[in-house]
């Protein structure tokens, strides 16, 4: 039976060949990969974000011992680290797309992109280290 083409068959979310096809038509550089990274990190953030924010309802204003004990447990520690990593990947891609839209000076654009990346690496690194410290000290 012939396959009826769907609009969704042609979207970059579904079609693994889209990068190759774009490459033959003319370069989109890393556009498709970045587009996919934004969606993949978004999909990861749906369960991870809900889990973390649901936990924060209780923990955001709790005392240090309660929060430390939670972050030292294996499942919260792992999921918090994954949440932090996915969050900063998603934030870098998203902020980059904002900069690309509104910053039209090459030097400012490069400076902005590098600042966003540097800040994300420092913040993600600090967050992961903090969780690891609590987890390993437990």
């Amino acid at each position: 039976m012939a396959h009826t083409p769907l609009l969704s068959d042609g979207t970059a979310l579904r079609d693994g060949n889209v990068l190759r096809r774009v490459g033959q038509l003319g370069s989109a550089h890393d556009g498709v990969r970045e587009w996919q990274l934004q969606r993949k990190s978004a999909l990861a953030l749906i369960p991870l974000g809900i889990y973390f924010v649901a936990s924060m309802v209780r923990l955001a204003t709790s005392d240090q011992a309660t929060a430390a004990q939670w972050l030292a447990s294996p499942v919260p520690a792992l999921l918090t680290i994954l949440f932090v990593l996915a969050l900063f990947v998603h934030a870098v891609v998203g902020l980059r797309s904002v900069l690309l839209d509104y910053v039209h000076t090459r030097a400012l654009l490069v400076a902005g992109e590098l600042s966003v990346r540097a800040a994300a690496i420092v913040l993600a690194g600090a967050g992961v280290l903090a969780v690891l410290k609590l987890f390993l000290a437990h």
């Binding site: 999909l43 918090t80 932090v84």
Partner: protein
């Protein structure tokens, strides 16, 4: 011949474009995304404060428990729930579904409704205590 002064993005909305829920929700998605990225500084700070303990945690805890801190947490939660729900709406579009104008508006109202619902659910336990 005089050339028309053309308006440039992001200043097209709402002066040059008629108000529409869909375009408002589009720019809100980006604004909440930026806000959440800025808010992630506080998230990383909080994790470090828990690990550090002592005075750093005490100061962080005092800030988060203050009216200003609670307001920030509230706005952060609204931004998070909106960006989460509207992000799912975008994923559905990216998968190739729901492009009809009716669907776009229906999903838009659903996103707004669920955002309010999730915000209330998240804060209800704190109000009840």
């Amino acid at each position: 011949m005089t050339r028309m002064e053309r308006p440039l993005s992001p200043f097209m909305f709402p002066v040059w474009y008629r108000f529409q829920l869909t375009s408002l929700m589009s720019i809100l998605h980006r604004l909440t995304g930026i806000a959440l990225a800025v808010g992630s500084i506080l998230l990383a700070w909080w994790l470090v404060a828990v690990a550090a303990g002592g005075e750093i945690f005490a100061a962080t805890h005092a800030f988060l428990s203050s009216p200003m801190g609670v307001l920030l947490l509230f706005l952060w939660s609204v931004a998070f729930f909106y960006h989460l729900c509207n992000g799912i709406r975008h994923i559905v579009w990216d998968a190739g579904y729901g492009f009809e104008i009716r669907s776009a508006f229906r999903a838009g109202y659903a996103v707004l409704g669920v955002t309010v619902l999730l915000t209330v659910l998240a804060w209800l336990p704190l109000w009840l205590i």
